[in-house]
Amino acid sequence: MVGALAVSETGVITEHTIRLTEVSKWFGQKVAVSDVTVGFGPGVTGLLGPNGAGKTTLMRLITGLQRPSGGRVEVLGRDPRRDVDLYRRLILVPEDESVYAHLSAHQFVLLNARLMRTADPEAATARAIATVDLGDAAHRRLGEFSKGMRQRAKVAACLVSDPMVLILDEPLNGADPVQRAALINLFVKLGEEGRTVVVSSHVLAEVARMSSRIVAMVDGRLAAVGTVSELRAAMTDRPRQVRIETDRARELAGELMRLDGVAGIRLRQDTLDIEASDALGLARALPRIARDTGIRLRRVEPTDESLESVFRYLVGSR
């Protein structure tokens, strides 16, 4: 054991590297984070929530930039507000676009390497810049960079110290599709190496691509924790959206309206958009109706399995 952490025979931390216990943070009368108890372990975890949900505050509490009003934060078994040596292993890529505009990307990353007391700062800087593919622009001033390039420079600055815990606040902001794909691959790889990577993002499809686990926040509270499919399965009472393409849409709509589990149908040429309060009942009934009536089903698909729809449900249900 390392502090409160379980460590496997290979030295990989198998339990939570970040642990928040009944953590709250308020600013005057405004509650930003309320009584959150959650852990983050190795791998990539997506931190989701609408604007003002408390994601950034939670990340600042984890890194020690802000002090909890109540509760306890531990990273690698230590309190980030008390133990500055923790910052050799814990890094934050802040949401703000701000960087030192007068520095080149190389100078910025090198500054971070030196402040981190990295063994060979020049070599670490070269490696980190190559990792985010900024080699050609390394000696240009950050003030001349696009938003996406600045994001990559910030990620490079965090990689120079070979951190175990990475807190990335909206790291894909401003990146173009190619850069996004590269950064997502990088975060996934870091997670696969056993590092704890916490990523917040508004681009929900990308979070679903990179995250093995989701922590959803709403109004400063924990809304849900789990994988996307676990979250989905947990919401059994939620109406499902199903789209059916058929050759006789009007006739099929009439048949489906007789089912108890169908709350509503929208007809659009050959397509039916169905809101099913009992998705399982619909799934059982549909083949029987098709067989009995001879209606041909060209395509049947759920339209609300995306992370965004799950998240909207979580927000709306509170």
């Binding site: 890194t63 020690g64 930039l65 500055v84 050799r88 802040p94 676009e97 701000s98 030192y100 500054l111």
Partner: protein, 242 residues
């Protein structure tokens, strides 16, 4: 103390645009001494008059701007996490920040003093009074940095508050209300200058109840440094950084 952070903060504080403006502000007394000296001829009190008069606001304002910017600019720009989330003790971060501000201000002070010495040489004024401005400006650099780096970290509108302190508190209220001069960092530094230059009526008037004395001035500046570093260490440790 972190030499890497010190170099970074020093360079950031003395970026070209800001440096030019502050240098112009810092050499104003030397320019006035030159102009007045050329117009009116030799005057033994000319340099001390310029130091006790004009420099009492121009140089503290320059020192205030640099000290306030040291951590406040980082907080306002959102770059503070890049230095705060590093394996540097809070005391080390506090000391480094105050030293960086004092060093940057000292560059201005030495330039200002050099300009004053040059002006004094041209107009045949008191060279001793001109060279004594070096310890004065260094003491101001240290004192104001120790005061305004922590306040800059804590307070968003510190330049306005600082201007009120430099102009209203130190120059107006301290002359009207007995005892207020004892809270003036400028007068602590000026007491060192007065000790070196010798007793002069205009310096006594500027000092008010603060007695001339190099060691007394150094000790008072030392108290300001201790309080300032202590306050900043406390704030870095216990207050939110963003």
């Amino acid at each position: 103390m972190s030499p890497t952070l010190l170099a970074h903060q020093f360079r950031t504080l003395l970026r070209r645009g800001r440096l030019i403006g502050l240098l112009l502000l810092a050499i104003v007394p030397a320019v006035i001494v030159l102009v007045v000296g050329l117009a009116e001829g030799p005057n033994p009190d000319l340099v001390a008059d310029g130091v006790a008069g004009l420099a009492s606001t121009t140089f503290p304002i320059a020192a205030l701007i640099l000290a306030a910017a040291t951590l406040r600019d980082e907080r306002d720009a959102g770059t503070l996490p890049y230095i705060y989330l590093k394996p540097i003790s809070r005391f080390g971060l506090a000391v480094t920040s105050v030293v960086a501000a004092a060093s940057a201000t000292a560059v201005l002070g030495l330039t200002s003093a050099a300009a004053l010495v040059g002006s004094a040489a041209v107009v045949g004024a008191d060279m001793g009074a001109a060279t004594a401005s070096i310890p004065l400006y260094l003491a101001v650099a240290v004192g104001y940095s120790a005061m305004f780096v922590p306040l800059g970290y804590l307070l968003p509108r510190i330049v306005l508050i600082g201007l009120a302190y430099v102009i209203l508190w130190e120059q107006v209220i301290a002359r009207l209300v007995t005892g207020v001069a004892n809270t003036s960092v400028w007068r602590f530094a000026l007491s060192i200058y007065a000790d070196i230059v010798g007793d002069q009526d205009l310096l006594s008037e500027a000092l008010g109840p603060v007695a001339p004395g190099a060691w007394g001035g150094v000790a008072k500046i030392g108290v300001v440094v201790t309080l300032g570093v202590g306050l900043l260490t406390w704030a870095l440790r216990w207050r939110d950084a963003v």
